[in-house]
C-alpha cells in the first residue's frame, strides 16, 4: 500500500488548504485515508479558521457523502470546508443549471388572475394585463404592454432586468426589491414608443427605469441574449 500514490493529498495555499481526493479508489478507502491523514496532522494552528477546498476530481459526491466529508474535516479544530469542486454534475443539477440560463419564449396574453412562472429568462410576446403576474428567476422581456406585476430574479438575482415595449406596471420586483407605480401617472401618451427597462440601481438598491439603450451600456450581461 505504502508505495502507491496517496488517495488524499493536502496542499497549502495562501488562501487555505486544497484537499485533492483520488477519484479512482473506493469511497470507503478514501474516507479511511482522509481520517488517517487528518489524524497525522495534529499541529495546533494559531489564528483564524482555515478554509479547505475539496477537489473531488471526476468522482460524484452525493449530498450525504459531502456531509460526511464536511463533518470529518470540521472535527479538526481549525479547519472548515469552504467549497466542493468536482468535474461531474448530476443530470438534475445540470438541467437546473441549464434552466437558469435558458430563455423561454411564450406567445400569450397573461390576463388578470393568471400567473406565468418561468425558470430562467422569459420572453413574452403579448401583454401582461392588470392583475396578472409574471415571475422568472432570470430577466423578463415583454414584447407588448406590461400593465400587471413583473417579478424578475425571483431567487435573489439582482442583475436581472425587466424590459417592456410599454412599461405601465402596477408593481416591479427584482430579487426582493419592490417598487410600485406612482399614484398619479397621467402621462399616458408620454413614452409611448420607447422601449423601457427596469433594473436595480446598485448605489441605492432601488429599482430604476431607463431607456433600453442606456441599460445596454450599463449591463454587458444583457448581451447574452444575442
Amino acid at each position: 500500500m505504502s508505495n502507491m500514490q496517496p488517495l488524499v493529498t493536502i496542499r497549502g495555499r495562501k488562501d487555505g488548504l486544497v484537499l485533492s481526493l483520488n477519484d479512482k479508489c473506493s469511497y470507503d478507502s478514501l474516507i479511511l485515508e482522509l481520517k488517517e491523514k487528518l489524524l497525522v496532522d495534529t499541529r495546533d494552528h494559531e489564528g483564524p479558521l482555515i478554509p479547505v477546498r475539496v477537489e473531488a476530481g471526476f468522482r460524484y459526491l452525493t449530498k450525504e457523502q459531502k456531509d460526511e466529508i464536511t463533518d470529518i474535516i470540521r472535527s479538526k479544530k481549525k479547519l472548515y470546508v469552504d467549497e466542493f469542486n468536482s468535474h461531474v454534475l448530476s443530470k438534475e443539477e445540470c438541467e437546473n443549471l441549464l434552466k437558469q440560463t435558458q430563455l423561454t419564449s411564450k406567445t400569450t396574453i397573461v390576463r388578470s388572475g393568471q400567473v406565468l412562472e418561468i425558470e430562467g429568462d422569459l420572453l413574452l410576446i403579448g401583454d401582461v394585463n392588470p392583475g396578472a403576474r409574471v415571475i422568472a428567476t432570470g430577466s423578463i422581456y415583454v414584447m407588448g404592454s406590461l400593465r400587471g406585476i413583473a417579478h424578475a430574479g425571483k431567487n435573489g438575482n439582482h442583475d436581472a432586468v425587466i424590459a417592456a415595449s410599454l412599461m405601465k406596471p402596477t408593481q416591479l420586483r427584482i430579487g426582493e426589491v419592490i417598487s410600485r407605480s406612482p399614484d398619479n401617472s397621467n402621462d399616458s401618451k408620454n413614452g409611448q414608443n420607447t422601449m423601457e427597462c427596469a433594473f436595480v440601481d446598485p448605489t441605492v438598491k432601488q429599482i430604476a427605469i431607463d431607456r433600453i439603450q442606456s441599460l445596454f451600456k450599463r449591463n454587458k450581461q444583457l448581451a447574452r441574449l444575442t
Partner: protein
Amino acid sequence: MGEAIVITSGKGGVGKTTTSANIGTVLALQGKKVCLVDTDIGLRNLDVVMGLENRIIYDLVDVADGRCKLNQALIKDKRFDCLTLLPAAQTRDKSAITPEQMKKIIDDLKREYDYIIIDCPAGIEQGYKNAVAGADKAIVVTTPEISSVRDADRIIGLLEQDENLSSPRLIINRIRNHMMKNGDMLEIDEIMNVLAIDLLGIVMDDEAVISATNKGEPIALNPSSKASIAYRNIGRRILGESVPLMALDDKPGFFQRVKKLLGMR
C-alpha cells in the same frame, strides 16, 4: 344542431341579463328558433326582464333532477313563437346542479333550437362553471369602467383555458358618449387594447332600456331607441353579417332634424 352562446361578465350589474334577453329577442326577430336559459339559480331575473315570471311552473333544477320533462319547463314567449325560456330555480342555490347535468340539458336543447343563449350569474364560482359547461361560444359583457374591465379580463382568461369554447367576443355596454369625449370614461380603444379580443358590439347607455326592462319588454322591440339598434346590429353580427359599428355621435345632423320636423323618422 344549434349553437349555445353563454353571456358572461364576471362582475355583476353590467347588463348580462338585459343583453341575454335582447340578443334572444333580436335572433327571434330574424326568425331563428331561440331558447334562453337562465342559470342564475337563487337570483333569477331573466324571466322578469322578459315579462314571463307568472308563467313559471317547472325550472332548470326540476329538469336536472328529473322531476319534469325538458319541454314541460320551457316557457313560450308571449310575443314570438320561436322564442322560449328555461327559467332558473329561485328557492335553491348554485350547487343544486352540476356542470354535467347542465351540459346534458344544453345538448338536448341544441337538437331543437338554432340558438341557445345562456345567461351566466356573476362571479367565477360554481354558477359560472355550470353556465359555461355546455356552451360553444362566449360573449363577454363589460362597461367602460375600470373594475368591470378588470373582471372581464379575468373571465376572458378563464374562457380561453376552456378548450370547448371558441375565442370569446366582447360587448361594451352602457357607453355614455359625452363622458367618453371628456375622458371621464375609458375609451373603446383603451378597453380593446387591454382585452384584445373581437368586438361584437357597443351599446349606448339609454334610459329607455330601464323603462322597457321594468315593463318586461326587451328594448330590442322598440326600433326608435339607439340601444335597440345596437342590439339588432349585434344580432346580425352573430348571424354572420358584417355590420359597421354605430357612430357614437348622438347629435342629430341637419338632415335628420328636418326629417324629424316633417315627422318621418
